[in-house]
């Protein structure tokens, strides 16, 4: 492995070279013609000034907040529902057996097709986007919690019993921590899907949010704004992901690998 400064330098180089190449190909003619027409590809300077403009004028904050709020709601509702149902199914194998084909069916459905339905049912406000995010987050959390309860080591379970734990104490001290640890290990995926649900929902029909911003720009062929929207969205997701990593480090100290990843 390379040392940290060298690594950072290399990473920076990739960004600089890509941006330089993009700028070169969209502005400087090669053999008499520009290879990437700016109408379709814009250029880094225009995109950057668009981003700066959004932040200076402050118009972006409203959209960022809306998307953030939708993501948070989708994540919270989806997670709580996933934990409750996952726990219930894992502890009641008969219920799980009855619902199994329907769970598989619902999970197999591409969620985008639900967006129009949710818009019809819940309108163009934030709730149709939240609903879309929930359907994505729910299954990730549900499957992980279900697995977590199912995969409790039989020895640890027998140990709990021999130490005199009642069923309620087993739930609290054995099943619950195990289920939560699996849930936390899917945190990155779940948070990512919450954002995807929000943005896709906005894109398909809304009045605010990052997805709306991109969709609007696309509608008027403002490619610079489309790219600017994508960059802001990427930065937004990276920030959220950093936050998740931080939370995860705090909560999963007891795990051998610090932070694992399932799903």
């Amino acid at each position: 492995m390379m040392s940290r400064p060298v690594l950072l330098l290399c990473r920076l180089m990739v960004a600089v070279v890509s941006l330089a190449l993009w700028h070169f190909l969209t502005t400087v003619p090669v053999f008499g013609r520009i290879l990437l027409p700016p109408f379709f590809f814009s250029n880094p300077v225009d995109v950057a000034s668009q981003i700066v403009d959004w932040f200076v004028r402050g118009t972006i904050w409203k959209h960022l907040l809306i998307t953030l709020w939708e993501s948070v709601l989708a994540f919270t509702i989806g997670s709580v529902a996933g934990v409750v149902v996952g726990f219930w199914f894992a502890r009641q194998p008969r219920v799980a057996a009855v619902f199994d084909p329907y769970v598989k069916m619902a999970n197999a459905l591409p969620r985008v097709v639900l967006a129009p339905i949710f818009t019809l049912w819940l309108g163009l406000g934030i709730w149709s986007k939240v609903a879309l995010g929930v359907t994505l987050v729910f299954f990730i959390v549900f499957f992980n919690v279900y697995q977590g309860v199912k995969e409790v080591s039989p020895t640890v379970l027998a140990n709990g019993r021999m130490l005199g734990m009642s069923e309620r104490q087993l739930t609290r001290h054995v099943y619950w921590p195990s289920a939560l640890s699996w849930m936390f290990s899917s945190l990155h995926t779940a948070v990512g899907f919450a954002v995807v649900g929000a943005v896709v929902g906005e894109y398909l029909g809304s009045a605010a949010g990052l997805g709306y911003l991109i969709q609007q720009a696309e509608g008027v062929f403002d490619v610079a704004a489309v790219f600017a929207g994508m960059f802001v969205l990427s930065a937004f997701v990276i920030l959220i992901d950093l936050l998740v990593t931080f939370v995860e480090r705090r909560l999963l100290v007891w795990r051998p690998d610090g932070a694992g990843g399932h799903g």
Binding site: G164, H173, V174, P177, W254, R255
Partner: protein, 271 residues
């Protein structure tokens, strides 16, 4: 004081996936007196652990009776502490919380439980490791925490399933000495399963030999006349130790060979 553990004609059978019945242990009778340290030795897969699980109430015998302090056992054996072969600590709890949980379950206030747990960690030599999670401890240290976790509840009977099996030879001896030292303090009834005859003789008052499975039986019962307190690594040099070892081994050897032959047969064949 009544007999701590009394198995009478206990037969344990399992139903296999293909619906055949596999008899693991047949008509085993075994008793452990109060304050007595009994070791069960037998070839691999002979059903030693099965017998232990019957005494723990984790398994029900198909026939025969189990009495704990003269009471027929139904459900789990509430008088027993069980030390497992595999890792059984709660990975999401620190060493201290793992030990304290035994008391917390009983309803002890958390402060009291933590205080007593710290004391037990100190007596197993891990006073400075209270805040570590199981994965940060070595195999031997995890066994020490396990021992403290079981002993803090002060069970009248201690059931141990090859507890030091996964450890290296030196650590096993150290753990054996620690166990004897702790046991000496209040002499609980101990049922200790192992495949290591030397370990059994060094630790126990009585060594019980089981035949190779399936349908394992108890085929021998020796008293160990060695004086206590013992040092496990030194007692192995004694003449009496060697004599007893030779005597028991002459019986055990045949069973070990049978057990080995058994384990190399194709499934379904019966020798």
């Amino acid at each position: 004081m009544p007999t701590a553990v009394a198995l009478d004609d206990a037969t344990v059978a399992f139903r296999l996936a293909d619906n055949r019945v596999y008899t693991a242990v047949e008509q085993a009778s075994l008793s452990v007196e109060h304050g007595e340290f009994v070791a069960i030795v037998g070839p691999t897969g002979c059903g030693k652990s099965t017998l232990l699980n019957v005494a723990a109430g984790l398994l029900k015998p198909a026939s025969g009776t189990v009495r704990i302090f003269d009471q027929p056992l139904s459900g789990l054996n509430r008088d027993a502490g069980y030390l497992f072969q595999a890792d059984a600590l709660f990975p999401w709890k620190t060493a201290l919380d793992n030990v304290a949980i035994g008391l917390e379950i009983k309803g002890a206030p958390r402060a009291v439980a933590l205080d007593r747990a710290q004391g037990w960690l100190t007596s197993v030599g891990l006073g400075a490791f209270a805040g570590r999670y199981p994965h940060m401890l070595s195999g031997g240290q995890r066994k020490r925490v396990g021992l403290a976790q079981v002993l803090i509840r002060d069970p009248k009977i201690l059931l141990m399933d090859e507890p030091f099996g996964p450890l290296d030879a030196q650590t096993r001896q150290i753990m054996g000495n620690l166990l004897l030292e702790l046991w000496n303090a209040d002499r609980k009834a101990v049922l200790f399963v192992t495949h290591d005859l030397e370990e059994a003789i060094a630790l126990a008052d009585r060594v019980v030999i089981m035949s190779a499975g399936p349908g394992a039986r108890i085929i021998g019962d020796w008293r160990v006349p060695l004086p206590r307190p013992r040092d496990i690594s030194e007692i192995r040099m004694e003449k009496e130790f060697h004599a007893l070892h030779r005597e028991i081994w002459s019986v055990l050897k045949d069973e070990v060979m049978k057990g080995y032959a058994q384990s190399t047969l194709a499934p379904g064949e019966v020798a």
